[in-house]
Amino acid sequence: MAHRLLPSAVNHGVMTSTDTTQPTTAPFLGLEAVRKTYPGVVALDRFSMEVRPGEVIGLVGENGAGKSTLMKILGGVTRPDSGTITVDGVAHDGLTVEQSIGSGVAFVHQELNLFENLDVAANIFFGREPLRAGPLKLVDRARLREMVAPLLKRVGANFSADAPVASLSLAQQQMVEIAKALSIKARLVILDEPTSSLPLAETEKLLDVIKGLKAQGISVIFISHRLHEIERVADRVVVLRDGTLAGTLAKDQINHDEMVRLMIGRMLKAREKAGEATRAPGSVALSADAIRTSTYPDRPVSLEVRRGEILGLAGLVGSGRTELARVLFGIDERLGGNVALDGKPLNVGSAADAVANGIFLVPEDRKLTGILLDLSIAQNISLPNLPAHARRSLVSTGAELATAEKQKKNLGIKAPSVLTRTGTLSGGNQQKVVLAKWLAMNPKVMILDEPTRGIDIGAKAEIYGLMRALADAGVAVLMISSDMEEVIGVSDRIAVMHEGQISGILDKDDFSQENVLLLAVGKKPKLLQAAGGVQ
């Protein structure tokens, strides 16, 4: 509360440096009592904060807490209803996009804004390309490359300026975005969930980039659901809850539990764990024997998932985990190897075959492949099992709604009704709809690819609970995840992939961040006993 009274954010046009805690650097950007309402909701209310040069601010809050609105206000996309935004001592009622850019505010969004068909250099200087003299105003490629090189170096890029963006990994694309932000001489870089899609090693790199920015005097607002990352880099944490400032934590107060307490207003037990398995794993449900995918055609993968267990599948992005899942689910062609379900060989030639046999996939990209945003909750849930909701191949709306209502209640999907378009739901609720459509069909094997990416903590805990409940009901659960906390907290066993192959399988006693990381980069883990699980 105290910092709301700082004169720097209140006095119009007066440069002040009365901040007592950090006398050397005055805030260059301040928000004061900002309020923004949308039809039906108060998105942000009485919110104040300030940004000092070279400061890394962790911004946390559940989905819907007001983070996006805050970003839109800072980016000049939205004007607040009331309140002041002070930039370099000049007070504004609201910023325009031009003012925002002019003040040195740069965004790296969760969903990247890159032209996949252009190369790295063209993306970084899009619309600002150096031109050659002459009437044709051709792009000066040589000069462009010269300008891009130092930027790529600053973000520690391991790719060339000529690489087409489509050929880069998600992590690399993110670096391009950050380089783009640096290229406009940003003073404040706002990273919106940059690590949600990044694997471990790349996350480390990104955190280094953040530290690098800080050292160069650039401020960073780092939005993330991964609190341990915030713990590591933030100088200050701002917690939003229901559109208001729930609290600010100074560097020495930052810890996981405190952030969670402020975010949800109560303590979460057992660090959002799914809970322990209540029964010993049963027989092998799904076995993959020497599967070869088109990404790594020469690397056979073998894997067994037992009934009643959650097998975590960890590894770096690009290690072949998603590709394996897609082959098991019949989306991608299987180049070799055999799949067996409950000991019987199974030929999965299409997703329809997989679904018919009770093998379900919750895909990585929820909006593109998980659900149909334009359809209602009920229509999404019934879609894979429509014939069961039909009489003489005519859809029975009654049966459809009944199933949907039941799932909505069981999973606690928050929506006005089951007829609500799924596109209007929050990420967590959308993911619950994806789960609901499979839960309504008695799964035997459930494959979840990054099931909690971009989902707030409350919904995450619920999804972990659901996975555990599934396992306890005898379902074989295979969970692909790049979130270390999640992999270790939720899995009963962890298989780690490295460049298209399983580099090792860890039992519960050997779970540690270090071991998972070692296997992910292809090294030997430190095991308690010499187990046979590791080759």
Binding site: Y38, A351, T369, L386, P387, A390, L394, V395
Partner: protein, 331 residues
């Protein structure tokens, strides 16, 4: 019937009223019968097109198929003296085969619908012209097929049987599109084919089925067109009919991106198009302006529809804001 369809219906009635006031001959039974006959012929064609458009595809070969299958039909019954019921079945099967091949090329070999059906447009037209050696297919003097002629070009209680056929087909296809599992799959695929596939739908089969339905309905309308014109010169018969069908669907609220549109919409779209044709004739507008009038009306229709959507969204937002401000607790 949704609001979009209702708007279209009102437009049809308003245009009709205006034309009737300017030229009362619009309402003469003979004019209404002729127009409804054309609505029947083009309507069957347009429903087929609609099934393809709903999947996000397009079928450009429709006009050429009408020419080819029409030519073959007349040749079968007039020259080769095949019994007309058998010829009828053969033509329908041919239509289904053409649709299947298109669907197969599109789903299995991953060719773009535009490309596949554009090639179809050229190929079928060429084959039709070659088949008759660029001559005209028609009936010899005195050749009569009373039952067939009654069913296709005849009238019941003054209503053209082609129009009745359209109504029957429309009802059946309405159930298929809006009530059946297959129809739901079509919409799902049109909205997001990937997500549909990830839900375990065999999207390839469904899309092929849509092209087969289009082929069958096109074949049926080819027979109706053949019996309506009674002689076919394959070089020009059915030209631009694919565009009539696409225009009817677009007017009826279909999105060419797929996943949107209703059966009532495409029928109303056909009605409006034929009404405009009729208007050009009755109001003494030079018939060379025919296409220009149609194009203009479609453009205005789509524009109004889109602007109306923007307006409504804005109004909804304003209302909600007002409600919110009024209901906000005092601080």
């Amino acid at each position: 019937m949704n609001k979009k369809d209702l708007g279209l219906l009102i437009l049809i009635l308003v245009v009709g009223a205006v034309v009737a006031i300017i030229n009362p001959r619009f309402l003469l039974p003979i004019n209404l019968a002729n127009t409804s006959n054309l609505i029947g012929l083009f309507g069957i064609l347009s429903i087929g097109q609609a099934f393809v458009i709903i999947t996000g595809g397009i079928e450009l070969s429709v006009g050429s198929v009408v020419a080819l299958l029409g030519t073959l039909f007349i040749d079968f019954i007039a020259v080769r003296e095949v019994g007309w019921p058998l010829a009828f079945v053969l033509i329908i099967v041919l239509g289904a085969v053409i649709g299947f091949v298109h669907g197969w090329l599109i789903t299995r070999l991953k060719l773009q619908p535009f490309v596949v059906t554009l090639c179809g447009l050229l190929i079928y037209r060429g084959v039709a012209r070659f088949y008759t050696a660029d001559g005209t297919a028609g009936f010899a003097f005195g050749q009569n097929f009373p039952t067939l002629e009654f069913l296709t070009a005849g009238r019941s209680y003054g209503v053209p049987n082609s129009f009745i056929a359209l109504i029957v087909i429309a009802i059946v296809m309405w159930v298929v599109l809006h009530r059946s599992v297959f129809g739901r799959y079509l919409y799902a695929i049109g909205k997001n084919e990937e997500a549909a596939k990830y839900s375990g739908i065999r999207t390839g089969r469904i899309v092929i089925a849509a092209y087969v339905i289009c082929g069958v309905l096109t074949a049926l309308s080819a027979i109706y067109f053949a019996m309506y014109t009674r002689s076919i010169s394959p070089a020009s018969h059915g030209q631009f009919y694919e565009l009539y069908a696409i225009a009817a669907a677009v007017l009826g609220g279909f999105s060419l991106r797929g996943g949107e549109g209703s059966l009532v919409g495409v029928i109303l779209g056909t009605v409006l198009l034929q009404e405009l044709q009729n208007l050009v004739n009755l109001l003494g507008i030079p018939s060379s302006l025919n296409f220009a009038v149609m194009g203009g009306v479609i453009l205005i229709g789509v524009l109004v529809d889109q602007q109306w959507g923007v307006f409504r969204a804005r109004r909804r937002m304003m209302e909600a804001t007002r409600r919110n401000v009024a209901g906000a607790p005092a601080e």
